[in-house]
């Protein structure tokens, strides 16, 4: 009798709201405060070096449109990151956007700039990722994510074509960033390397599917609607050309 009651109760538990409340994938990449022990200043140094070169790149390659553009894009990426999306096997995740920014601008520096601003706001106002862990988070998602996306896209596009290359690059950027988080946790003595690499790897291999599909869909849409925004339509560097030249490309 008791068993029947238990089965009845279990059958009546609504599963959908529970699923909706599940944690989203990308958030496991946001390292909180206290998890990196003494190692966090090292990542700050790397982040500052990356930011220095990113700003240098921005001043050299982008026109004065950079500031409002990067700012508004960061706000857009921030909003996009809040969208919860379904992933096969019942879990859910959200897009990070680092790979998308790196491929659109064809520069990992752009990903570093945008992700720095996004992660700073998340850490300071929403507690998503720690203040002391900001350096590591920017290094993982902006620098490593952006660089992996850019270089794998560049390497693969000749063999596979642009969109398959972008999909693989986006998936790889998330997967490798997740594995780097596992290594950082191990270096700090917070998590064993083998379990960390396996759990982060398997989980983000699925989450990466979202990143890959959405990056490609967004790139296709941009190529159709505003081809001038894509750096691959504008020559070697994204911002090297002025607005008038971009409009000429768009007109074509």
């Amino acid at each position: 009798m008791k068993l029947r009651k238990v089965i009845l109760v279990l059958n009546n538990i609504p599963l959908t709201p529970l699923r909706k409340k599940q944690k989203r994938g990308g958030e496991k990449l946001h390292i909180p405060d206290g998890f990196l022990s003494w190692t966090w200043p090292i990542y700050y140094v790397i982040m500052f070096v990356a930011l220095y070169f990113s700003l240098k790149w921005a001043r050299k390659n982008l026109d004065e449109k950079l500031i409002p553009l990067i700012a508004v894009l960061s706000a857009g990426i921030f909003a996009i990151m809040s969208m919860n999306m379904p992933i096969p096997f019942g879990t859910s995740g959200h897009m990070l956007g680092g790979a998308l920014v790196a491929i659109v601008f064809l520069a990992p520096e752009a990903a570093v700039l945008v992700l720095f601003i996004v992660l700073l706001v998340q850490a300071l106002f929403f507690g998503d990722g720690g203040i002391t862990a900001l350096g590591a988070n920017v290094v993982n998602m902006g620098l490593i994510g952006g660089a992996v996306a850019y270089f794998s896209f560049r390497g693969l596009e000749k063999f596979t074509g642009k969109y398959p290359a972008a999909a693989i690059a986006a998936w790889l950027s998330l997967f490798i960033a997740a594995e780097v988080v596992a290594v950082e946790m191990w270096l700090a003595g917070t998590f064993p390397l083998d379990i960390g690499l396996a759990s982060m790897g398997i989980y983000h291999a699925f989450i990466g599917v979202i990143e890959a599909i959405l990056t490609v869909v967004v790139l296709i849409a941009l190529d159709k609607l505003r081809p001038d925004l894509l750096a691959w339509n504008r020559g070697k560097t994204s911002g090297g050309q002025k607005l008038e030249e971009s409009e000429e490309v768009a007109a074509k």
């Binding site: 857009g76 909003a79 999306m85 379904p86 998340q122 106002f125």
Partner: protein, 276 residues
């Protein structure tokens, strides 16, 4: 993550007028980051307990709602909780419990988990307090005054201005989808089609962000903006008595805690033990 509701709620909290709200933005920012950094380096639970108590007193003084603060901290805890939950089982040390499948809980692992959780709670309380007493724009200005490069500070400040607009934009799109019975989690709809719709939503957001950026740039240029421009800043405000008192009390507390940590806290047993 953060819905538009929480963004708005946060800004409403910052509009209150307590002693802490009225303080200089730089002081609030630096001191709360100082507390987080000290907490991250602390290896004794009792030190973290005192820091948390101090933060709770600050929340009381700032008239920020305890209920909403606790709610926010509780919502953020699971992000680190996943890693903390594993700690008692993976740290080598003295076994205090053996369960099924040979799972063992060690004393060192358990203490490490408690330490990590305590650090996380102190850091999250600091962030909740900072974001409840400082409007986003004030924090951006404080960063600029503290020497953040001009370009980065401008990007930061502009990004905050447009954050609210994009949340509204995203909500409008999502409402329109909901009104047409679109549910991204409905398994009766083919996965490929759902992803396509979500992809177009993201592309739309990206495009609107980009085009908005261009429009903003044009309107800024027409009002005299150039790559040499700088944002208007308040004249350097001198720190008042309340700011000095706040700095004094916080620094004194940290110094006292550190002295006690080195001399007396070990007498408290588990709470004062150095966990490394």
């Amino acid at each position: 993550m953060n819905g538009v509701g929480s963004v708005r709620e946060l800004e409403r909290e910052t509009e209150k007028e307590s002693i802490l709200h009225l303080m200089d933005g730089r002081v609030k920012l630096i001191l709360l980051i100082f507390i987080i950094v000290y907490a991250v380096f602390s290896t004794q639970i009792v030190v973290l307990a005192f820091l948390e108590l101090y933060l709770l007193i600050l929340i009381y003084i700032s008239q920020v709602s305890f209920k909403s603060s606790f709610k926010r901290i509780l919502l953020l805890l699971p992000f680190g909780g996943f890693i903390i939950a594993f700690q008692p089982f993976i740290h080598p040390g003295d076994v205090i419990w053996t369960g099924i499948f040979g799972l063992q809980v060690t004393q060192q692992g358990l203490m490490w988990a408690v330490l990590l959780m305590s650090r996380l709670i102190v850091a999250l309380t600091s962030i909740v307090l900072l974001s409840s007493i400082s409007p986003m724009q004030e924090v951006a200005q404080s960063f600029r005054k503290l020497g953040m490069p001009r370009e980065l500070a401008m990007i930061f400040s502009l990004m905050i201005r447009f954050l609210f607009m994009f949340y509204d934009e995203l909500h409008r799109i999502m409402h329109a989808q909901k009104a047409r019975c679109f549910d991204a989690f409905n398994k009766k709809i083919p996965y490929k089609w759902r992803m396509k719709q979500l992809g177009y939503t993201v592309a739309m957001m990206f495009l609107r962000a980009y085009e908005q950026g261009e429009t903003i740039y044009m309107s800024m240029v027409s009002r005299g903006f150039s790559d040499q421009s700088n944002f208007y800043q308040d004249r350097k405000k001198k720190l008042g008595k309340t700011e000095y008192a706040y700095i004094g009390v916080t620094v004194l507390l940290v110094v006292c805690l550190q002295v006690l940590a080195m001399t007396h806290f070990y007498e408290l047993g588990v709470l004062g033990m150095n966990i490394i």
